[in-house]
């Protein structure tokens, strides 16, 4: 039997995976994917809890998150392409113009 606990543990694992990937990876594209993993981990939590509590609000919020994620991906990838065009790199260690 798959209980709510399994869902929540899975989403927590996914979230941590995303966070670790975000912090340790240097390639912006990979970091971007990690961001998606983070969002979907949250989505999983929302849907699991919505089902568990028998309320629809969580599912509605999940749709919103997907929509926002789509928009964010479109803009983010656009920026990424432009960054690559101008700097010939999407590694964060190469993009340190804001160093203090």
């Amino acid at each position: 039997m798959i209980t709510i606990h399994h869902y929540l543990i899975l989403s927590a694992l996914l979230f941590c995976l995303g966070l670790v990937g975000l912090v340790v990876r240097k390639n912006l594209l990979i970091m971007f994917m990690c961001l998606e993993v983070l969002l979907n981990a949250v989505n999983l939590t929302l849907i699991a809890l919505a089902r568990y509590f028998r309320v629809m609000d969580g599912q509605v919020v999940a749709f919103f998150v997907m929509a926002v994620a789509a928009v964010e991906a479109a803009i983010g990838l656009g920026i990424l392409i432009n960054v690559f065009r101008t700097r010939q790199s999407v590694k964060t260690t190469d993009l340190t113009a804001l160093q203090g």
Partner: protein, 649 residues
């Protein structure tokens, strides 16, 4: 109210107008010609004089009115029990001063149009002179000590500006600075006196009132009695600064660096008498402190004698007159010290006439001789500058105490009061001696400059001054002759049927009753003694310096050590330099500058703050790597801490 304000406003308008013109000219923009500047500069004091006359005559016509006041024009400051309003009041004493200031002032403005005509900064000069008149009028008209202090400081400022008028000459600029700094010492004492008065009076005060107005001082005189000694001592110290007495007289001889009409107006006739005016005005405080009165008399006499001795040896025509002024001011303080407040005011007035005349005469000589001030290169000016010579002679006779001239009456009254006071007879003896020395050095100056053969390089170039300069001379010489008749002493007045108008007029000042009232015979005898003594000194100087300059030179050689002491002004400047100026400079340099300023303020405070900030900034900037991942990492740590706090806390 409407009577008093015009007196103040006209000189201020003149100063503003001429100041504006001077500013335009300094920017290279012509605005108005010299003639308009002259007209404004002379008209404004003249108008002030007319209004002063009006005030004077309305006081004269209504003996029941003791003062005309314009009190409480505006609130100046209010704090706790302190309330100071702008207000003006003219009593009998102030009315006399108003006449002297605006009257002599107008004449000197007129004279200046001739004397300063060639000067580039003519408008600036006139602006300062008008401004001086404005502040001097505030000084004598202020109805409280703080308002008087505005004038007191203002005239100091104008004195500084005018002494250093030719400021491109470093020595002259320095002389101005010296006057300013020395005056600050006296001003500090004046301020302290005001604080003391306020502290003493505000003890019982419950609500804000004008504690520092003269009216309040008069009514609260009893309450001030316990502190009277200290208060009057401070006031007197303030007066020694402005009125050039020991120990603060040193600025006045140097003040001769200014244009000569300035010396006549500020450093002889008006500003330097402010200290005497103030003490006479506050006479009700001073009579409560006999020890301070004694000190005033002693300082006055010492100053009079010392300055007269120095005056004997000077060769600069203006320096002789400067020391003479210091000496005469000493006489006035001597009069104040023995309680002769109206005698002091009398001498202030007569001195204003003859000393202004002498200074203007000296200015005329300097003008006619193309900026020559050394009397050793003068001589024989009698024929070349007849008007100047005659007026100078009349003023010389007046200051020497020639019978029936102005100085005769005023000086004789002072000598008589000194004799009749309970001071020792030594004071009287020294005062008479000083009067003799005065007569001697004045006649020496006159004979040196105007008699004998000419010692100038080009005597044919010497010319008499224009009319605008000689007319004021003639008027002032006239007053030097007859100005004394307003205060004819009792012994003469009784037989001539003239009452002592001035003593009557200034009765409110009060006078300490002489300890030992001398009979008319004794008074007459004293008068004869001092007059004969002064005249014989005068005659001696006349015969020596008219054509026997060798005799004077012999005397100089025979008394060489004494002469050296006197001609070096008793080394007072050198002593001050060694005792005060050098130590102050050393302390300033070694302690204040090198340690406090450079190390503490610059090193620790200013650069220290900068260094700490930079160090912290450098440290924290290590976190700003510019790598997005690092920022995310910090963010994560922060988030963990925050969540941890939420869960645990």
């Amino acid at each position: 109210m409407s009577q008093l304000l015009p007196i103040l406003i006209f000189p201020l308008l003149g100063a503003l107008f001429n100041g504006f013109v001077a500013m335009r000219q300094s920017q290279g923009k012509g605005f108005v010609g010299k003639s308009l500047t002259s007209i404004v500069a002379c008209l404004m004091p003249a108008l002030a004089f007319l209004f002063s006359l009006k005030v004077f005559f309305s006081l004269l016509a209504h003996p029941e009115i003791t003062q005309i006041s314009a009190a409480g024009l505006m609130e100046w400051m209010r704090a706790g029990t302190l309330l100071v309003n702008f207000g003006f009041v003219v009593d009998h004493q102030s009315a006399l001063m108003l006449l002297v200031i605006t009257g002599v002032g107008s004449l000197i403005h007129l004279y200046s149009t001739g004397y300063m005509h060639e000067d580039e900064a003519y408008a600036r000069y006139m602006a300062y002179l008008n401004l001086f008149l404005f502040f001097m009028l505030i000084l004598v008209m202020g109805d409280s000590l703080p308002v008087m202090f505005i004038g007191w400081e203002g005239v100091g400022l104008c004195s500084y500006l005018l002494i250093g008028f030719w400021f491109t000459d470093a020595d002259k600029a320095k002389a101005g600075k010296k006057a300013f700094v020395v005056n600050r010492v006296g001003d500090l004492a004046f301020l302290t006196a005001m604080f003391l008065i306020f502290v003493t009076l505000s003890k019982d005060a419950t609500e804000a009132s004008e504690l520092l107005s003269f009216a309040s001082l008069r009514t609260n005189a009893e309450a001030l009695k316990p502190a009277a000694g200290l208060i009057t001592l401070c006031l007197f110290l303030g007066a020694t600064g402005k009125s050039a007495q020991i120990p603060l007289y040193v600025w006045l001889p140097d003040a001769m660096a200014g244009p000569t009409p300035v010396s006549a107006l500020i450093h002889a006739a008006t500003m330097v008498t402010a200290g005497i005016f103030m003490i006479a005005k506050l006479s009700f405080l001073f009579v409560m402190a006999p020890a301070v009165m004694h000190l005033i008399a002693t300082i006055g006499l010492a100053t009079a004698l010392m300055a007269a001795l120095i005056g004997l040896t000077q060769y600069d025509i203006k320096k002789v007159l400067a020391y003479s002024t210091v000496s005469q001011l000493g006489f006035m303080f001597l009069a104040l010290g023995v309680g002769g407040f109206n005698a002091a005011m009398f001498h202030v007035m007569t001195h204003a006439f003859f000393k202004a005349c002498l200074f203007l005469g000296a200015g005329s000589v300097i003008h006619g001789m193309h900026h020559e001030q050394d009397i050793r290169r003068m001589g024989g000016l009698w024929h070349r500058m007849p008007t100047t010579a005659v007026t100078f002679l009349l003023a010389t006779l007046a200051i020497s105490g020639f019978p029936l001239t102005a100085g005769f009456f005023s000086k004789d009254e002072i000598l008589y009061l000194v004799y009749a006071s309970d001071l020792s007879k030594l004071y009287y003896g020294l005062a008479v001696l000083t009067a003799g020395i005065t007569a001697f050095y004045m006649m020496r100056l006159f004979a040196y400059a105007f008699l004998g053969a000419s010692r100038a390089a080009h005597p044919e170039h010497i010319h008499e001054s224009p009319r605008v300069m000689t007319v004021p001379l003639i008027i002032l010489a006239g007053f030097s002759l007859v100005g004394g008749f307003m205060g004819v002493p009792h012994v003469l007045g009784h037989s001539l049927g003239i009452e002592n108008w001035l003593a009557h007029w200034l009765a409110s000042l009060g006078q300490v009753t002489p300890h030992e009232v001398a009979g008319p015979l004794q008074e007459g005898a004293l008068m004869v003694i001092s007059t004969v003594w002064a005249l014989s000194c005068s005659a001696a100087a006349y015969f020596i310096y008219r054509n026997k300059l060798n005799a004077a030179a012999n005397l100089k050689v025979r008394l060489a050590p004494l002469y050296r002491l006197i001609t070096n002004k008793f080394y007072i400047d050198e002593i001050y330099d060694a005792l005060i100026i050098k130590p102050v400079k050393r302390v300033s340099d070694l302690v204040l500058y090198r340690n406090i300023d450079v190390r503490l303020i610059d090193g620790l405070a200013v650069n220290g703050v900068g260094a700490v900030t930079r160090l912290l900034g450098n440290g924290f900037s290590l976190f700003q790597s510019g790598v997005v991942g690092h920022y995310l990492f910090y963010f994560l740590i922060g988030l963990c801490l925050f969540l941890g706090y939420m869960v645990m806390g």
